[in-house]
Symmetry: C2
Subunit: 461 residues, 2 copies
Amino acid sequence: MSLTTLKPSLFIGIVAGLTMLYNRANMSLSTQPYKGARDFYPEDKRIQKYMFGVMRRVAEKFGYEEYDAPILEPLELYAAKSGEEIVNEQTYTFEDRGERKVAIRPEMTPTVSRMVAARRQELAYPVRWYSIPNLWRYERPQRGRLREHWQLNVDVFGIDDITAEHELIVLADTIMQTFGAKRDTYIIRLNSRKLIDAALHDYLKLEKVQAHSLVKLIDRMHKMEAAAFNAQLDATLSPSQREDGTEDKLRELLKVKDVAHLPGELQSHESVVQLTSLMKLLDDSLISNVTFDVSLMRGFDYYTDIVFEVFDTHPENNRSMFGGGRYDGLVGLFGVDPVPTVGFGMGDVTLQNFLETHALLPKLKPETELYVALLGDVYESAQRVIHDLREMGINVAVDASGRKPDKLIKNALKKNVRYMLFIGDKELQTEQFTLKDLQSNTEEAHSLQRIVSVIKDYRAA
Amino acid sequence: MSLTTLKPSLFIGIVAGLTMLYNRANMSLSTQPYKGARDFYPEDKRIQKYMFGVMRRVAEKFGYEEYDAPILEPLELYAAKSGEEIVNEQTYTFEDRGERKVAIRPEMTPTVSRMVAARRQELAYPVRWYSIPNLWRYERPQRGRLREHWQLNVDVFGIDDITAEHELIVLADTIMQTFGAKRDTYIIRLNSRKLIDAALHDYLKLEKVQAHSLVKLIDRMHKMEAAAFNAQLDATLSPSQREDGTEDKLRELLKVKDVAHLPGELQSHESVVQLTSLMKLLDDSLISNVTFDVSLMRGFDYYTDIVFEVFDTHPENNRSMFGGGRYDGLVGLFGVDPVPTVGFGMGDVTLQNFLETHALLPKLKPETELYVALLGDVYESAQRVIHDLREMGINVAVDASGRKPDKLIKNALKKNVRYMLFIGDKELQTEQFTLKDLQSNTEEAHSLQRIVSVIKDYRAA
């Protein structure tokens, strides 16, 4: 593998670079990561692994299989080739050394659509896939807003009825429940693009351009002052619309909190029937924190039907956490038959904020279970015991530094390892080892087998 | 989280981009991934997960904890600030929208050194860390040479004697053994930078520039024709060196296969003592496929002491697989006290080639264990059973398509799922379910509990 075999030349480059910098400028390199991005020290990585573990376990319970793809994608996937580049300003893009335009993926949806399209004929539908890709976005970093995050993406391809939406919302809800979230700490909001289309075009008789502006306006409604919203609403509507009752009808519509209270003209629309059926199914699944939200827009141009979003209800973190919906059009853009698709994306930063806000992060144990301190010149003779402990399934860190016991204990405590074993000549001869429990600050002599079972009991606890 | 809340605008961009491309040019988007990079369909991802799982399990057995870092790093980490950019030509670099120079990391070593330096004082040594980062290199893709790979990086910080090298080589060897590799399928080669320095400078009395050229030449020795090597060797040495026995001594030196056969002047050098002790320790650990290789160079400017490399002995894949060594100098470049460090990197492409060449990849089961096919209009009434199966730990994919049984079976077979359950009104009433074993092509009626235990037995098998 070239990345391995070419290592030397790179290493030379790196070391020469670092050394030049150090020697010539006598300046030190910064230890900071790239702006807006995170280093994961083991204690941080442990939290991420816990979160990803729950995501994976639940996704697989629902029959989803993990896939992955390169973090670099051809820019064409996000931009038009027409010369007029409309790729989002926040996307990281560059030209590679072969003058190919490349993007660091900001989302996984175009990628997964590409992958399904590539095997459109061979795949067995429904295709259920998930991934936890790293995504990048260029923006000003602030709390909860970073330049990179990891995002669980769950998509089902090939189901054209609401059983797909039901399954994905139950799956998302099961993730929340598995994290221990209480029902009153989050709300699942539902809406339908088809319903909004019907309301704006058929019910309110708005022009296409007006409807488009209104969707954008309503999308920002909850983040705006009422006066500003009203002013923009007035500006969007024509004088006659403000007088002929259109504006009143719109305002009434935006107050609706229940599909049953939608205007009679919309009640029989297929989207309302679907939303009602979906809510019934979710209720049967004992998911009681579901609400209809006519103002939920979520990338309206993108989705084709039902959309949903999970909101944190905590007063200090009252925000959209994640969401998704049906987007039946993307796979077909690759020149193959379209595939009905429902998916959602759940980011790690938002999720971790939620878990921290609601005190749901468990105390996670370090991977290392036993800190073995060698006493005297026993590195060679202790190898068999260390090997056996590992063979019996214990994660063992060895300290052969020869430091004083109090230093060694301090070290093990700092690493948050609960158990410690001192091994010297005496222990190797008697095959009895003193296991020190740093939590209870007690110690007892045991055989190796007994030590293994004590540690395994703690692991399982 | 911004990446989530800003999704709509991006989605609009994407969909508009895709749609424009599709409508205006009437061309389809390519379904190919970026050149030289891999899509991981579930069957590919499964192999990767298996490999990473073994890596993680073994690394943690040895007391190593997982860390991670952003795939983007400030370019300064790899380049000098002096204006004369010496960053490797194969590194992906670009300027971000804030005019910061950024690199997609080609290696993890500078990153992990940065992270240790950032917490130089707080960390408890020895620090044992591992990571499986995605790395990128711009080069012409060919078999076994891609533009991206994933690489297990294992590093120990704070041990200044050969117990560190011993531990890491045993760890690497344990990974190979856990994959089922036979001892005769790979060789672990050892050398020492200090020994090479002593041999070239003190023993052969070469000039610094000559020594440097020779290191590069010897590094390529096994990839060159003998005649070409000899010609370049002659060109490197002066006429007097060719006549005064220097060349002969060098040629003899390069033939040495055992530290015991090194020239007497080098026998007592500290590096030989260390290599001998290390080989003794490895032999005690029953690692018999270790050999001294005086021609092993491995990024000579980078490493400071012992280096090692694992070679595939298969005639069709006879190549370096991965390696590492001691590099005591990097952490100190960040303006903190240096930390003795030993590490190695093991790439997924090379490893997978090895496992495939030696037929060591096991047949991996899909994540989905049970394919539930619904018969008739039972989507709602079957939810409880589906929920219970998942609660009892089974990974269940539901097919509510209403297709004919033979189509459903074909689908389950295509997904490689072994067990199938048909659920209709009758099954829901009797609470007896027919479990179809697609492998033996038999079926039997069972209670839900019994079905769960059959599947769990298969999982454990």
